[in-house]
């Protein structure tokens, strides 16, 4: 029987993977995927908290799950906008590598 700790462990691993992807990968699409991974890590821990923090009447606390739906919705919108930006960026620069996108500096 998995406990809350297991779920949080998985969530933490997913978050770390996402963060590592964002910080270390060079392809902007992969970085973007890392971001999504971090969002879903947060979703996972929220659902876990909901499942394991039962209310006095024995039902899970659905507030957390509602919040997850919000996050999924916002993430979907964000993906749409983000991908559009990446497409536009690619058209302008012919690259998706972040090393080549370094004009905005002192």
């Amino acid at each position: 029987m998995p406990t809350l700790a297991h779920y949080l462990l998985v969530s933490g691993l997913l978050f770390s993977l996402g963060l590592a992807g964002v910080l270390l990968r060079r392809n902007i699409l992969i970085i973007f995927m890392g971001l999504e991974l971090m969002l879903n890590a947060a979703n996972l821990s929220l659902v876990a908290f909901s499942r394991f923090n039962l209310l006095p009447n024995g039902l899970p606390n659905y507030n957390a799950q509602v919040l997850v739906f919000f996050i999924i919705t916002v993430a979907a919108a964000e993906v749409a906008v983000g991908l559009a930006i990446i497409v536009a960026l690619f058209r302008a620069k012919q690259t998706t590598h972040v090393e080549d996108l370094n004009t905005l500096k002192f």
Binding site: L19, V22, L23, I28, I31, V98, N102, L104, K105, F106
Partner: protein, 603 residues
């Protein structure tokens, strides 16, 4: 037409004309001049009509500002004998000057602007004359200041004209500041600013008499500025930079007359504060003598007349100070308006003939070239110098008589100033019209068109005859001092002064090629202008330098530059974090979040 409506039409027709000239005047010179003359003539006609009406309906007043029972300000009309006479003077003189201007300004730039300015000026002056309370009078008082600024600075591309306009405005501001304080003091004493309310409240005023004295002297400061009394007279001679019709209007019927009119308007208040009248009398007496001294050594044809105006205004103010009613001063204002306007118009005519040469030592021998102008000038000159049985003789001598009775020193001073008056005006006359032509222009001078000569000839009639007893009693109820109280020497002395002054001038200046007399003290206007110049230059200039230092080093450096440089330095330091790598930014962001969490959770 009712006596309720007529004053409003008189008041607003010049304003309507001014607006119309601004809007449509540029299409036609004739149209703009016509509109201005029409509005002035309408006012003139209605003023004479009103003057003939013995029964006057109660005047309408518009409530403008209501601050509760403490202070209610109305825009209303006062129509009594005083304002009726003043209306006559203002509108009649203005109409004649407007007609004259069509001739004088015929070749000048800014023709329509000039007539719009004149109309606005007339509107402002009529507002002062008709105002029924101090606040309304003050508003129009300032409007006169603004419109005089516009007119004096008519040739604004000339530095001296622009400076003169500015000076007139600023010097008047000093007087007006006192005027405003005076109005506020009178208001706090009585709770009203309306003339009718003030006049009934003041005689019963229970507070300290010195309070009223201070209030009246402060109000008188307005007169000192506007009527160019010493020591605030310096703007008036410089206002000669404006076109001559402006000088004529400014010095005869409007602007400078406003100060005296205002004193006449509040005369019942002044009657209960003898100390204030004493001060007024001294200022007037000293001005009339001092300005006459300065006039004797000027060489500019218009400046002599300007100092003469200051001197004559001194007589009027002296009259307010010593005479038992305001009629005596108003009588002199009335006659002075006629002859001084005439003199200025004649001077303007000479100037046009001379192609705008104003130094009279470049003129000479104009009696044959401009005979009509000379005749008009003689009429004005005789009246100004107090030649027996001309208008100036009656009005000036009456004031001198009262002054001798009340304050002998001032009376004899004013009598001596009468001699100087005769001297300086005859000096100007001989230098301009007699002797040989002293320049190219003087040899080729020619007489002016009818539009300029007719107003002068019309004015010559009242200048000579307005003082005759049968005419003066149509307008004024004058009181003469008891014949026994007047020293028997006075009248012979005044005759001696006139003939002495005129004779001396004839002796010295008839056919004079250059000025045989040189008195630097008078030529330099008693150095009063230099004192002002020194004060503004050194004292005020020194203060400005100190303030400029404080502005540069305290405000600019400490308050503005230091924070600005500090912010810039922080920005410069932080700039090096902008390395252009998106992942570094993400890393900084992550570190920031972790740090923030640590701070929040470690508590």
């Amino acid at each position: 037409m009712s006596t309720q409506i007529a004053p409003w039409i008189i008041l607003f027709s010049p304003l309507v004309a001014a607006v119309l000239i601004f809007l449509i005047g540029r299409f036609s010179k004739t149209l703009s001049a016509g509109l201005a003359i029409l509005s002035a003539a309408t006012g003139c006609f209605l003023s004479w009509w009103l003057f003939r009406q013995t029964e006057v309906a109660p005047q309408l007043a518009l409530e403008w500002l209501n601050f509760g029972p403490e202070l209610t300000i109305t825009i209303g009309i006062t129509l009594d004998h005083l304002s009726k006479v003043m209306l006559l003077v203002v509108t009649t003189i203005s109409t004649l000057v407007f007609i004259y201007s069509t001739g004088y300004m015929r070749d000048e730039e800014g023709y329509t602007r000039f007539f719009a300015g004149l109309s606005l000026f007339l509107f402002s002056m009529l507002g002062i004359v008709l105002a029924d309370n101090f606040v309304m009078m003050f508003i129009f008082w300032e409007l006169v200041g603004v419109s005089s600024y516009i007119l004096i600075g008519h040739y604004y591309s000339k530095d001296s004209a622009a400076d003169a306009g500015k000076q007139a405005f600023i010097v008047n501001r000093i007087g007006d500041f006192g005027f405003m304080l005076g109005i506020l003091l009178l208001w706090s004493a009585t709770g009203t600013v309306a003339f009718s309310g003030l006049l009934s409240a003041i005689p019963g005023f229970q507070g300290a008499p010195v309070y009223l004295t201070v209030a009246c002297v402060l109000v008188f400061m307005g007169t000192v500025g506007k009527s160019a009394q010493m020591p605030l007279h310096v703007w008036l001679p410089n206002s000669m930079e404006g076109p001559t019709p402006v000088s004529s209007l400014l010095h005869a019927a409007t602007m400078v007359a406003a100060g005296v009119y205002m004193l006449a308007r509040i005369f019942p208040i002044l009657e209960v504060v003898p100390d204030a009248r004493e001060i007024i009398a001294w200022v007037g007496g000293i001005t009339c003598f001092g300005a006459a001294l300065m006039a004797t050594q000027q060489n500019d044809i218009k400046r002599i007349l300007a100092y003469s105006t200051i001197s004559q205004l001194g007589y009027m103010v002296l009259g307010i100070g010593v005479a038992p009613t305001s009629s005596e001063a108003m009588f002199h204002l009335f006659t002075h308006a006629c002859f001084k306007c005439l003199l200025f118009l004649a001077a303007g005519s000479v100037m046009i003939a001379m192609h705008h040469e104003t130094d009279m030592w470049h003129m000479g021998g104009l009696r044959k070239k401009t005979p009509v102008t000379m005749i008009c000038f003689i009429a004005g000159m005789l009246a100004l110098s107090g030649c027996p049985f001309t208008s100036g003789y009656f009005s000036k001598d009456l004031i001198i008589e009262w002054a001798v009775v009340k304050t002998p020193f001032l009376g004899w001073l004013a009598a001596a100033a009468a001699g100087l008056t005769a001297f300086y005006i005859f000096r100007e006359f001989f230098v301009v019209f007699f002797g040989k032509a002293r320049s190219e222009h003087a040899e080729h001078a020619h007489e002016q068109p009818v539009s300029m000569l007719v107003p002068m000839l019309i004015l010559a009639v009242p200048a000579l005859f307005a003082g005759l007893p049968m005419i003066q009693e149509q307008f004024f109820t004058l009181s003469h001092p008891d014949a026994n109280a007047v020293p028997h020497l006075l009248h012979p002395f005044l005759y001696a002064m006139f003939f002495g002054g005129a004779g001396l001038a004839t002796l010295l200046y008839f056919k004079a090629e250059k000025d045989p007399v040189s008195i630097p003290l008078f030529a330099n206007r008693l150095y009063i202008d230099d004192v002002y110049f020194w004060f503004v230059n050194k004292i005020q200039g020194g203060g400005s330098i100190a303030l400029s230092w404080a502005d540069r080093w305290v405000v600019d450096l400490v308050i503005v530059q230091v924070p600005s440089k500090l912010t810039w330095a922080c920005g410069f330091a932080l700039r090096f974090l902008q390395i252009g790598s998106i992942q570094a930014y993400a890393f900084f962001f992550g570190v920031g979040v972790v740090g923030l969490l640590y701070i929040l959770l470690s508590k």
